[in-house]
């Protein structure tokens, strides 16, 4: 049994997934783990991996190959290969929803729209540019300012009666807008839904720019917020695929791609004279 680990070194959390190929042609997930990212990327990666090993009930030395992804992917010394989170996100999403050709990934620092081929290979992508108030961090900060916990954001947003849109495309100005809404006495629910609506608008714009078609898979930590899922579904006029473990999708994709590399490598070794 070939065990491969994928580790996604994100700005907030590091996530690890362990996959194995059993008798089925497809890989299956044995375990997953998580650790807070700190100043030392390698430590966090190690902790997340251990957590995943425990979850899978396997030993470290059974893992044959480690693929890292995410912004800290180069900071992990024990990796075999590094892959960007866009490539891995697309691959992971494709594994979970094979009929989907389009991914929206909203993480702590950035938002990405990706389209891919039938095999899960990236066809085109777009990441949010300089002045997009479209990341999870932005919502977290707004929640802090509004004195509510991040877990409550999704639910509260759903209770909005008159959403107050955030029109600015710059995160700094958008924060000012929120403050001005608060000053003007707008309710927290309406502000939150406004933020979700605006984020959704921007995400839909990005999806259109990459040439979205068919069903959309929504991954990344922000996918947990029911308010934005609803806003997106309304604007797209279709249901979204939201994987239950939405924040593990990149780690999974990395593991799957790592697995592919491992097989390719071993094939090459066993057939040294093949052209």
């Amino acid at each position: 049994m070939q065990l491969v680990a994928g580790i996604d070194c994100g700005s907030g959390f590091t996530k690890a997934v362990i996959v194995a190929q059993n008798s089925a042609p497809e890989c299956s997930v044995l375990g997953k783990g998580k650790a807070k990212s700190g100043i030392n990327m390698e430590e966090a990666a190690f902790a997340a991996l251990n957590d995943a090993l425990k979850d899978a009930g396997v030993a470290r030395d059974q893992v044959r190959y480690v693929a890292t992804t995410g912004f800290g992917r180069y900071g992990v010394g024990f990796r075999d290969i590094q892959i960007t989170e866009i490539t891995s996100g697309a691959r992971g999403a494709h594994h979970l929803f094979p009929t989907s050709h389009c991914v929206l990934d909203i993480g702590g620092q950035s938002t990405r729209a990706i389209t891919m081929t039938d095999t899960g290979k990236v066809r085109s992508f777009k990441t949010n540019d300089k002045c997009a108030a479209g990341s999870g961090m932005f919502i977290a900060r707004a929640a802090k300012y509004l004195e509510i916990s991040i877990e409550d954001v999704g639910g509260l947003s759903l209770q909005a009666t008159h959403p107050q849109p955030i029109s600015s495309v710059c995160a700094v100005l958008a924060e000012s807008e929120i403050i001005n809404h608060v000053s003007a006495g707008v309710s927290v629910e309406n502000i939150l839904r406004g933020i979700h609506d605006s984020l959704a608008d921007r995400a839909v714009g990005m999806l259109k720019r990459v040439g979205m078609e068919g069903e959309v898979t929504f991954i990344g930590g922000v996918a947990r917020q029911s308010g934005i899922v609803k806003a997106l579904e309304e604007k797209l006029g279709t249901k979204l695929n939201v994987p239950p473990d939405c924040e593990y999708v990149c780690a999974l994709g990395a593991a799957l791609l790592g697995h592919k590399r491992l097989i390719a490598k071993e094939t090459a070794v066993s057939q040294p004279h093949a052209s």
Partner: protein
């Protein structure tokens, strides 16, 4: 004796000052509360707190001037002034030789050229894409997981301040994260952040003539790292009053006292908005 108050409702904190005039104008009390999501309440809270600190019932305060972005929410206020006028007036009161005021507020930073009577001669505020504001520092602290009060002192310990090219908060956050990932020291990153903001602020402040004395007002004046960085870029010492944080409220209270002295008539005094009537 005339008693008046100034309330400065900022995006993160609300400040109130009660002043008295019996020939000489003196500060009786101050109060500081977090603004939070309910601006009206915060303003009220700051005001009553200041009255309590001054041992004066609110009913004895003859006139209240509101300032700051939340000024139209002060239900008990009699007039509103922008914080630009108030900071200039406050700084002139505390340090009469002030000719330039630098303030890094939560929503915008400003440089004000002040005349001999404390009047605003010229002022400039941050450009759109250059958030050299207090919020920028708060976000940097946030991203690094360090308390806002700690970043200034920590930045002073920088030995090799890193270079930060952008002052866009969105970009700077990813810059900081990648520097952390590269194993750079927190103090060096913060040293770089403070220097970058100082440079950007001064670069824009040059739109007004920057002449001594330069008084720094606002909450960021309590950040020793920022003060040091600004002094370095300006090449001169800054005046920092212990009341820096209250400067807007002091200025507002001074305007309120002047209003009670009916000799100074101006349309500025017209309470143009009942609270919440929208603009």
């Amino acid at each position: 004796m005339r008693i008046a108050a100034g309330v400065d409702v900022g995006s993160t904190q609300s400040k109130a000052v009660v002043m008295a005039d019996n020939g000489e104008r003196t500060i009786l009390a101050r109060a500081l509360v977090d603004t939070g999501a309910n601006v009206r309440k915060a303003a009220e809270h700051a005001f009553t707190q200041a009255c309590r600190n001054a041992h004066i019932p609110p009913s004895e305060v003859g006139f209240v001037v509101g300032t700051g972005y939340g000024r139209y929410n002060i239900s008990f206020g009699h007039a509103q002034m922008t914080e630009i006028s108030c900071h200039a007036r406050g700084a002139h009161f505390v340090c009469p030789s002030t000719r330039t005021v630098i303030d890094m507020g939560g929503q915008d930073s400003k440089a004000i050229s002040v005349g001999e009577d404390g009047q605003v001669l010229d002022f400039v505020m941050n450009d759109k894409c250059a958030a050299g504001t207090g919020r920028f520092l708060a976000n940097a602290a946030d991203v690094m997981g360090i308390g806002l009060e700690e970043i200034g002192p920590l930045s002073l310990r920088a030995t090799r301040a890193i270079k930060i090219a952008t002052v866009c908060t969105v970009f700077v956050e990813s810059d900081i994260l990648s520097y952390l990932a590269q194993g750079k020291k927190a103090e060096d990153i913060l040293g770089g952040v403070h220097l970058a903001i100082a440079k950007r602020t001064v670069s824009l402040a040059r739109r007004v003539p920057i002449e001594p004395e330069i008084t720094m007002t606002g909450g960021v004046a309590r950040n020793v790292g920022m003060v040091r960085a600004l002094e370095e870029v300006l090449g001169t010492k800054l005046q920092i009053s212990p009341d820096a944080h209250f400067m807007g409220a002091i200025g507002a209270a001074l305007f309120a006292l002047e209003k009670m002295d009916q000799s100074f008539e101006s349309s500025m005094w017209r309470p143009e908005h009942a609270a919440g009537s929208g603009h």
